[in-house]
Amino acid sequence: MDTITRRRFLTASGVVGAGALAAGGSAYALRDILATAGDREPGRILVLVTLYGGNDGLNTVIPYTDPAYAAARPGLAYDDGQVLALEDGVGLNPGLKGLHKLYGDQRLAVVRGVGYPKPDRSHFRSMDIWQTAAPERPGTTGWLGRWLDTAGGDPRLAISFEPVLPPLLAGATSAGATVPGGALTLPKGVTKPVLDGFGTAAAGESPAQARAAGCFADLVRVQGLMTDVAAEAEEDDAEGQATATGGQAPPLDQQLALVARCVEAGAATRVYSVSLGGFDLHADEKTAQEALLTKLDKPLAAFVERMAGTKAGRDVVVAVYSEFGRRVKANASDGTDHGTASNVLLLGAGIKGGLYGEAPSLTDLDDGDLRHTVDFRDVYAMLLADVLGADPERILDGWRGRLTFS
């Protein structure tokens, strides 16, 4: 598998199914979001960064002083001259220069060994587990979708800048909004009465046909985007990225630029979902992962700095995760196969920099894989309570653990 995209997860997971569609998970225009300026409830804002494909945690936050690390990964290991040292014998991948600086400023928290019991090594299933926060049996609602249900259900509270709704934003009775960043100008001769007409619900039609009609109603909302407040964003949008089905998210820097605009405009949105794919590196991993991590690092560090410079931005918390890490031992193709526990990165308001969680042992392995030391629901509970002011137990099926910064 070459590129893992989020579309693949949507295909396989079936999470975004009846619930989200019935709730009208639909595309909004950026101006719909910006129009909520000034409506934001006091509190923090969560920006969740999903790395699709299974990012190799051991080559992201690198235990370079552990002899077992270099021994397991000849040809793939970084040595002390290459890593960006943190402390306690661990260092960051050389691609993460911006995050390294933030760590030095005590603004980056690294939670190590994050995973869940009986890890699943299927991309789809494990991403379903992370997005639904239900390891035993991934359900049909995402964890932030359930938060949205409890927060009143306005789709504009939780948004994604990708063309298709990620499963994590699908609730039982409501769903987050997708806000495609690109322009949607109409072909010549297609008029508002046409869109209104096609967009009208018809009695007795199939759910699929009703949804097809609903897209025309959504198109009406998106009108005027070109000439309206969003002009700046559209100029940023590369032509080639515009696929209709969410196969390809816009580049991360564009997604984060849109988040920054909404935050700075004072939008009511409390949750932003952004993503970067391509981490499934079974072969020739080292240079490819470093390049991908650079694509994460530059826009993310710039975003964090930009947010720190504005009042609204100082309410933002960023969390970065992937569906699993990789096997400790490299394979013969200078890559790694699907693994288990990995790191979650946290930045922003109220996040005290440093290393958290116990680093999993590289020698006491579970069938060649790391044993997790922190349950990912502990991290979610912290984000729900501290960032969104919600009751984690209600949203995480009674889960009581919680990550604390002490």
Partner: protein
């Protein structure tokens, strides 16, 4: 359901969009004979476009040489894609659609394979074995150079197995999640070690020194396996036929999973072969109730349209062919380029504001190519044009809201046709 509606439904699902004339013929022949006729071409190989096998530039090739080789490979892929779209548009049976199904099932992308000849050779395997029992198909696919390259099979060696192919083989191609364990993935990877692809020759070969022939325990059986015995183990696994039945159902039946009885009936029929499974699907009691439940994939939408409008994409001038491919790209589905090994999305994922806009735009592109169809509409009395459009596009019925939009455009046959192609009714089948 009238006989016309029944055969329209059958043909919309099993073939790439029937023409009005095909529906007329099917109505006269009846559903049973029609089903027999459309399934008949399955299993035939075809003459592939004559492409130079190419291969990779030699080690130490200059930057220019490498760039030239990449350009040549891309040009070949465009040729292959146009050739396939041409076949889809001109062949009337179920074979092309089933080949497309298998392509999305064993989803292999030219993005990494970078060879049109290898992609076409894989397609020929789908054509040769795709209608029969799955044993020969799985055996052939485990030797398929494109699949091996796509899932790092040639990097899977005795010294350190690479699990990519073994995992996807069980998860996505044959069994589905939950029917195998991690130990099976590791054992399967070892069984599959040692295969090497010769790009120029278009073959895959087992190198004994890279192969791990130690006994393994795989899916409950212990012993020495090779690709054939591994394939046999998979297709005999109790999860295999139901898994395939479900995969077939979500593409041909309805976007939601089939009921247990339907799955059982399809799985039982599938032991004879996939043609038989398709026949069981089309005659299943649940099938008739699925009209309008399936969202057309972009290729289904576009190929159905060109067939109904009497446009042969292979005969279009270069710039028009480019337009059609641009339409597929904008809608998110280009043959030979699935987004990942998981294949293309199903259902409502295709329905977005941007796809609605693209269908409005490319409805106009298609109409501009369809002189004869536009003339026929123009020759129809204005009050009858909306109904004639339904017949042309094999839409059983327009809703009142769509009929109102179309009636308002009826004075202009081009506009009428373009809107019909973009309508919600035409987005599903």
């Amino acid at each position: 359901m009238t006989e016309r509606v029944a055969v329209s439904h059958l043909l919309r699902r099993l073939t790439f969009g029937p023409t009005a004339a095909e529906v007329d013929a099917a109505e006269r022949a009846g559903a049973g004979a029609t089903l027999h006729k459309v399934l008949e071409p399955i299993g035939r190989t075809v003459e592939l476009p004559d492409l130079d096998p190419g291969g990779t530039p030699p080690k130490g090739a200059s930057r220019e040489e490498k760039q030239k080789a990449r350009q040549a490979a891309r040009a070949q892929l465009t040729t292959a894609t146009r050739w396939w779209l041409g076949r889809m548009a001109t062949e009337s049976g179920a074979a092309e659609k089933l080949t497309f199904f298998w392509h999305g099932h064993w989803a292999t992308s030219a993005q990494k394979v970078r060879s049109a000849p290898l992609m076409l050779a894989q397609q020929q395997t789908f054509r040769r074995y795709g209608g029969g029992a799955t044993g020969p198909l799985v055996r052939a696919m485990l030797r398929d150079p494109a699949l091996i390259l796509w899932l790092d099979g040639q990097k899977n060696t005795r010294k350190a197995p690479n699990e990519n192919l073994a995992r996807e083989l069980m998860e996505l191609f044959t069994l589905g999640v939950g029917s195998y364990g991690e130990a099976d993935v590791k054992a399967g990877a070892r069984v599959l070690t040692g295969w090497q692809v010769d790009r120029a020759a278009g073959t895959a070969e087992l190198l004994p020194r890279r192969h791990d022939d130690a006994p393994v325990t795989l899916l409950g059986s212990t012993g020495r396996f090779d690709v054939d015995s591994y394939a046999d183990l998979l297709v005999r696994h109790p999860a295999h036929a139901p898994f395939l039945a479900q995969r077939l159902w979500v593409r041909y039946g309805s976007g939601t999973a089939p009921g247990p009885e339907t799955t059982a009936r399809l799985a039982a029929a599938g032991r004879t072969g996939t043609s038989a499974m398709l026949r069981a699907l089309a005659t299943d009691p649940a099938f008739a109730a699925t009209t309008g439940q399936l969202v057309k994939q972009p290729v289904e939408w576009l190929v159905g349209a060109v067939r109904q409008l009497g446009v042969n994409p292979a005969k279009l001038p270069e710039n028009k062919q480019k337009q059609l491919l641009a339409g597929l790209r904008a809608l998110g589905q280009v043959p030979f380029r699935p987004p990942s090994v998981g294949g293309w999305p199903v259902g409502a994922a295709w329905l977005t504001t941007s796809s609605a806009r693209s269908r409005l735009q490319h409805g106009q592109t298609l109409t501009a190519l369809a002189g004869a169809a536009v003339e026929d509409l123009a020759d129809t009395g204005r009050d009858d044009r909306v109904e004639a459009l339904g017949r042309l596009l094999v839409v059983d019925a327009w809703t009142d809201r769509t009929a109102a939009v179309l009636r308002a455009a009826a004075a202009d046959p081009r506009r009428l046709l373009a809107l019909g192609l973009a309508s919600p009714e035409y987005a599903v089948h």
